[in-house]
Symmetry: C2
Subunit: 335 residues, 2 copies
DNA sequence: TTGTATGCGTTATCAT
DNA sequence: ATGATAACGCATACAA
């Protein structure tokens, strides 16, 4: 049979309530009493039932991650970071299935909240900016933390990198190498990060006195195929760009593939830059120059904010990015 | 406040128990009664509390995935397949953190089982062959399904592909192209699939009257770095192989990178074959010839077996693999 | 600092 | 086919 708090109470010779106190690390427990209880817990191998705890108490010891991203690496890093933090508090993570094309998103989330009594949610783009989801959670008084929010940033705590500055740094790097026609592949507009990165690109150009040429800017959707399509279009221009800055690594991989099929040497005839440095770090060939986005760290901090005391103030926590320069962004080719 | 079964009972005018019957799709409920209850459920937007259900009943409507794999793509596909199946039954998935290096695996799993009362577990390699874990679950009477088990395959239901035959098919393909010195990079021995794939390689050689040359076989660990290391060693041989069969895609990517750094044309001077076709499908350049392992389908079937009626017999469900031939495995170079 | 009684929302048992 | 009532294992309010 199952070991219950009652058994611990009996073995240790104290009341159920006192055992509960020890489990929840409440104050006002005698040192001796605590020791007795802990001994009994260890002896019986007692593990409190999450179901009973969440039914009786205010906490469920579960949080949920709402994450639908085209990149498995992103998802993996998000989960890893969150779990690292949750493990410290004995909290579990529910990986909620979410199909970005599903019309049932709102219903799914409401169902999740009601059914599991999760202590909180972590939202990643593009859900972190979904007005109706935010509204729903606010109305229901459910705690949540947003990753990379783009609007209403003071609604709840969040973690992020400075996407605009990162894109500016990357673009400036390309400009410094002598590039003047730099193609840019944006993400889907529903991702706030897409606009942020595009603005960084535009500002870096402006600082060099260059104006943004709309023909050099394409819309992708952060995945391989859209990056390849955009590259095809850019490289087919009468005056093609000498460098392409894809605002995600998967799209950059698409660019590389297309460049190769067209017989272009990289970086000899085309410089390629990416953004994220997860999917392709280490093993795409040739290596990309990228902005490294510390996804795992953002996730860890998001969980940290979510697990903070209920009265903790709303906090925006910025994480540092890094420019990783590899051989693929060489100077402009001679002649 | 929270909507409870009591509210539904009041609004629909039937007893709590009858509402429960409708929710659980039990028999012996009048058509009219059922309709009334369903109307009330919809009107009140009632969602039963998972916590209360698992406390009172025998089911928790939650299952857990124990998966620690070096490849984010594998993890992603596993989760996706499982969630697709679980969604049909309104069951949730807990993604249990598991560090393959952790000494606490057994304790973690026991804790998970006790704390959450999960209805079952899905185990992926190498945990699917972990003797103590299997023993623990058996002892505790916890239901579980194994993915790609290597031993004691009748212990519980499982899903798998015929790894040995797949490796044989791949190797035969290379032999047919004229290759006679084919390097092989195995996975870590703790993965049963590693031995299975190696045996397939050896058998294919045998069928051509070739004996396995131990110097051409290296041990990796299914990740990029180990594949690169093994390739370095193989290509540094006095008589290097003309083809390398890496038994995972990540290792194959390592091989490709090393080949490139050494100035080898692929497939001109070296043919490269992989296994899995998840991480690299579509975007590694040059494309690999691989065995496509339908991870998502294996996951879906695993969940299907786990959610089957309690009295369902133990079942081994095989899923088909596919040989994907791309340009990278060309014939042996002339001269 | 410790103990007692009550209730969380559902399923299970046993009635009718 | 439907209903009343006792669990389930824990936290909470309130006492002592």
């Amino acid at each position: 049979m199952r070991v219950t708090i009652k058994d611990v109470s009996r073995v240790s010779g104290v009341s159920i309530k006192t055992v509960s106190r020890v489990l929840n690390k409440e104050r006002y427990v005698g040192v001796e009493t605590r020791a007795k209880v802990e001994a009994a817990v260890a002896e019986l191998n007692f593990r409190p039932s999450t179901a009973a705890r969440s039914l009786a108490g205010k906490r469920s010891f579960q949080i949920a991650l709402i994450c639908d991203n085209p990149s498995p690496y992103y998802v993996y890093e998000m989960q890893s970071g969150i779990r690292d933090r949750c493990a410290q508090d004995g909290v579990r993570m529910i990986a909620q299935p979410y199909d970005r094309n599903a019309a049932t998103l709102l219903d799914d989330i409401e169902n999740l909240v009601d059914a599991t009594h999760v202590d909180g949610l972590i939202l990643t783009p593009p859900v972190s900016d979904h007005p109706q989801v935010l509204d729903l959670l606010e109305r229901r008084g459910v705690r949540f933390v947003r990753v990379s929010p783009g609007s209403a940033v003071d609604l709840a705590s969040s973690t992020f990198i400075d996407n605009e500055r990162a894109a500016r740094v990357m673009t400036a790097h390309l400009l410094e190498l002598g590039h003047r026609r730099i193609g840019f592949i944006a993400g889907h507009p529903s991702y706030a990060t897409s606009g942020q990165r595009m603005r960084g690109y535009a500002r870096a150009l402006g600082q060099e006195g260059l104006s943004l040429d709309p023909i050099l800017v394409r819309e992708g959707s952060y995945d391989f195929a859209s990056g390849a399509r955009a590259a095809e279009a850019l490289l087919a221009l009468d005056v093609p760009p000498t460098a392409i800055f894809a605002s995600s690594d998967d799209m950059a991989a698409g660019v590389l593939t297309v460049a190769h099929r067209r017989g272009l040497a990289v970086p000899g005839q085309l410089s390629v830059a990416g953004f994220d440095d997860a999917a392709l770090a280490g093993f795409v060939w040739p290596p990309l120059t990228t902005i490294r986005q510390p996804t795992r760290e953002m996730a860890y901090q998001a969980a940290d904010l979510l697990l903070a005391p209920a009265d903790a103030p709303i906090e925006r926590r910025e994480v540092a990015f890094e420019l990783i320069v590899r051989e693929s962004t060489g100077p402009v080719a001679q002649g």
